[in-house]
Symmetry: C2
Subunit: 228 residues, 2 copies
DNA sequence: ATAGTACGATAGTAATACTATTATATTTGC
DNA sequence: GCAAATATAATAGTATTACTATCGTACTAT
């Protein structure tokens, strides 16, 4: 990662923001401290007013970047999935063997997040926790179909599609490659949530056990020996 | 179902409500129209004031039954999982063969919901849609650990546990029975959501395909031939 | 006949989720 | 280096939400 990503700007659907937060200092501050404050308060209790106080700025100034906190969440989640997509492509691109490629993909998607210094104002570890706790709320709304049409979820869908394609490569006969891909993406977040709050509902306590669980799940489903 | 259930009252943690809604006409109206209105407006836009207008009653009267709409959601979700648990036990109890038992369990949990006339004031089909769209919001909160300790999620956990036990019976060597159980429960809701809003992310379009998908997933994971 | 409970009506509060306006500070273009 | 454009801050204001509190009335149980 490190150097390479530093020069890349993740492209996020322009309709999500009113003004590009990557274009100014205040914008970056909104993202940086938005992440920290959503994590601290939870999405329900998070407000632009509180964020304004936190960054010594005005509520109305934040509204110039985002229409509302829902759009900010969409921005953060898009960014996260874009960042993960990049890692997926980067890590799997050079792998020839289909099985190993898929195995690596599952690892990248389900592993625990480490800090990535490429984006100084974004704490990926905290952002990942926001994704675990708040991502569903970005699409479990009455506006989901409209917002989907606007393309607010394209990055996530592209990521799911990439994973699905890798599954198809391993076993073209399998009937549910996309369902399986979406199960891995959502299910992985869910297992991490259970680990933190409902310990009795998961066996994934150790650091790499989520990866192990999904790797087994997928390769057994595809009736392929999980080599390694 | 029908007759048998009619005489059974689902027991819901008393801390969830201030006054038992099953104990009065108004209480039942709150539940009945609460379900319809949450479905219509979505949980975010749903308020007790609006519900009061809908049932020709007063906002403050509803507050005498539930502290807030979050508690109402907890009540509804507890009721739903209790209802499903009952069906699970009822449908699988007499099955001796472990594999068939698990197969039936997966079917009950992942199948499409049909109206159950046993509870006249509860529309199970609509309630199921609320579960699909809103269940996550009941636990993706900052208060989850406190509320979990209060026992607000016991019914769901008991259901997951029952499923997990059936999985263990089929293959006691399998390392992730509970994770698999929670994946089925959550994943099933998610596949139905995808079918309605993100068609490109699932192959489950037909009525019984969610069941088929999870049945295959589970039996392949347990390395047991899915007989039937 | 009376005490208790349930419900409805009204009022009130603090916070939320914004919008609008104006003033000031900063940047940029020439 | 100055004017114009742009960005931000400050303030005010609105409708709605999410409640709490009080009071009067209606029904109900003894």
């Amino acid at each position: 990662m490190d150097r390479l990503l530093r020069s890349i700007k993740l492209e996020i659907n322009e309709k999500i923001y009113k003004k590009d937060p990557q274009s100014s200092e205040l914008g970056k501050k909104i993202i940086e401290h938005g992440i920290l404050l959503i994590h601290e308060l939870g999405f329900e209790d998070f407000t632009f007013k509180k964020l304004g106080i936190q960054i010594g700025s005005n509520e109305s100034s934040i509204y110039r970047y985002f229409e509302n906190k829902h759009k900010l969440l969409l921005y953060l989640t898009s960014w996260y999935w874009g960042w993960l997509e990049y890692q997926l492509v980067f890590s799997t691109n050079s792998i020839q063997d289909k099985n190993l490629k898929l195995k690596k993909a599952i690892e990248v998607i389900t592993r625990e997040i480490e800090e990535d210094s490429s984006f100084s104002y974004i704490n990926e570890v905290i952002l990942n926790k926001i994704i675990i706790n708040e991502y569903s709320k970005s699409y479990l709304t009455k506006e989901v179909d409209k917002e989907n049409k606007e393309g607010y979820f394209t990055i996530y869908k592209r990521l799911a599609d990439r994973l699905s394609e890798m599954i198809k490569l391993v076993n073209p006969e399998y009937s549910f490659p996309t369902s399986l891909a979406s199960t891995i993406l959502e299910g992985s977040l869910h297992q991490y949530f259970l680990r933190d709050h409902f310990t009795s509902l998961t066996e994934c306590k150790e650091s790499n056990s989520v990866t192990l669980y999904f790797t087994e799940l997928v390769f057994n489903s595809l009736n392929i020996k999980n080599n390694g």
